[in-house]
């Protein structure tokens, strides 16, 4: 079986996989990083969104072997120690969730969105989250959370 090597949340990892292993299954089953969820498994719902080399992708639609040598960030890699990432904190503050299943993907997509658009409007947030489905339909607070999270990320960047 081929061996795949990549950096996940700053840590060098490797594993033996079948060529057909999806990145999400490598993360969850072999690395035990179960924060990345499998919702629809048909590339639509976005519960599996992670960052690969700095951009958001659906990890159920990328082969693990294709991430050879890549820098991967999952929801587990966002916080600094006990301090939540500003976007995670905003989701908690604004209750940007109902059942919480879609939340990891929502947060990862939102962080990527704010990187390219530091001050997104409500419309841009809704469009930016087109690839993430909340089956509880709890979008109202999610959008509020992303707006606040963007502000907090910018404030953090200025402090940093």
């Amino acid at each position: 079986m081929p061996t795949v090597r990549m950096t996940v949340n700053g840590r060098a990892v490797s594993g033996e996989i079948e060529a057909r292993t999806l990145l999400v299954h490598f993360l969850r089953n072999q690395l035990g990083l179960t924060g990345t969820h499998v919702g629809c498994d048909t590339s639509q719902c976005g519960a599996c969104v992670v960052h690969v080399d700095g951009t958001s992708i659906k990890s159920c639609t990328l082969l693990a072997i294709q991430a050879e040598g890549a820098e991967v960030t999952t929801i587990e890699g966002l916080a600094t120690g006990d301090e939540l990432h500003p976007m995670q904190a905003a989701f908690r503050e604004h209750h940007g969730l109902q059942c919480g299943f879609c939340t990891p993907g929502m947060v990862m997509s939102a962080v990527d969105l704010v990187k390219t658009n530091p001050d997104p409007s409500e419309q841009q947030i809704r469009e930016g989250l087109e690839g993430n489905i909340c089956r509880c339909t709890g979008y109202h607070n999610i959008v509020k959370a992303v707006k606040a999270g963007a502000k907090a990320m910018n404030a953090g960047a200025m402090k940093g």
């Binding site: 081929p2 079948e18 060529a19 057909r20 999806l22 498994d41 048909t42 590339s43 639509q44 976005g46 969104v49 951009t55 958001s56 992708i57 659906k58 639609t61 990328l62 082969l63 072997i65 294709q66 050879e68 997509s109 990527d112 969105l113 390219t116 930016g128 989250l129 087109e130 690839g131 993430n132």
Partner: protein
């Protein structure tokens, strides 16, 4: 998903060799259609040849009469490219409308063309702008490239390397998106080119096609009303639970009018 042998060549020649040596090889570009297809076991190739390691296939460059986009260039790169935005803004806007953010971060122009989904966005731009598809073997004019449902002029062992777009006088794309899939229920690309008015329609039938009746009407009078006034025959359109043939036919005139307005 059935298992397969995985190849990641660094150049096109090695990709062709890997493809030739495989029992039933398939090329993977962005994989935004292929991976879901494999997962559903609608395809089960013996070998997968990944083009993501070929640097020569990536990037956007200006040429004398327009721009050339490498086959492995992502939709998000085209949407954000200042070169594309200044030469052919309609093309950057179209790229921004494809799928969702994550699909745009991964999907490629070459993959979209080779797949030729009947409701994909890029084919409308390629046909509407009269672009040229460059492969490892030859150049193929847009009018000859698309050959119906998921069919193209590509031969065995032929790999798209780039697409060349001549700069139009004016162009715009308007899409009525199917709200769940984001594919075009109908998308219309209108362009005023050196060779005349071109109107390309996606989502309407077995593949992208030119709406010649609207082209004729716009050649005489380039106004939204002229486009809207053309009634297309519903017999030429497909129907499904998202829209009847009559609805799709009417949408073409409406989207064409909106595109003309945006030109």
């Amino acid at each position: 998903m059935h298992n397969f042998n995985y190849h990641r060549p660094n150049n096109v020649a090695d990709a062709v060799t890997a493809l030739g040596g495989a029992g039933d090889g398939k090329i993977i570009a962005g994989g935004m259609t292929l991976v879901p297809t494999l997962k559903q076991r609608l395809a089960a190739p013996s070998d997968l040849i990944d083009l993501n390691g070929i640097a020569d296939l990536k990037g956007i460059k200006a040429e004398s009469d327009g721009i050339t986009i490498g086959a492995m260039t992502r939709h998000a790169e085209v949407a954000a490219s200042s070169l594309v935005k200044s030469a052919i803004p309609a093309l950057a806007e179209l790229a921004e409308l494809i799928g969702d953010r994550q699909v745009r971060n991964r999907g490629t122009i070459g993959g979209s063309l080779a797949n030729n989904d009947p409701a994909a966005d890029y084919p409308a731009a390629i046909l509407g702008l009269g672009a040229t598809v460059r492969t490892n073997k030859r150049e193929i004019a847009a009018d000859d490239f698309f050959q119906g449902l998921f069919e193209t002029a590509l031969e065995e062992g032929e790999i798209i390397t780039a697409v060349h777009f001549p700069k139009p006088e004016k162009a715009a794309y308007r899409k009525f998106a199917q709200p769940a899939s984001r594919f075009a229920l109908i998308g219309v690309f209108v362009a005023k080119t050196k060779g005349g008015i071109r109107v390309a329609v996606t989502g309407g039938g077995n593949g992208v096609f030119r709406a010649t009746d609207i082209e004729t009407a716009l050649a005489a009078n380039f106004t939204p009303a002229a486009a809207k006034g053309v009634k297309l025959d519903p017999a030429d359109f497909n129907g499904d639970l998202h829209g009847t043939p009559e609805y799709r036919a009417a949408l073409v005139s409406t989207m064409a009018a909106r595109a003309v307005e945006a030109c």
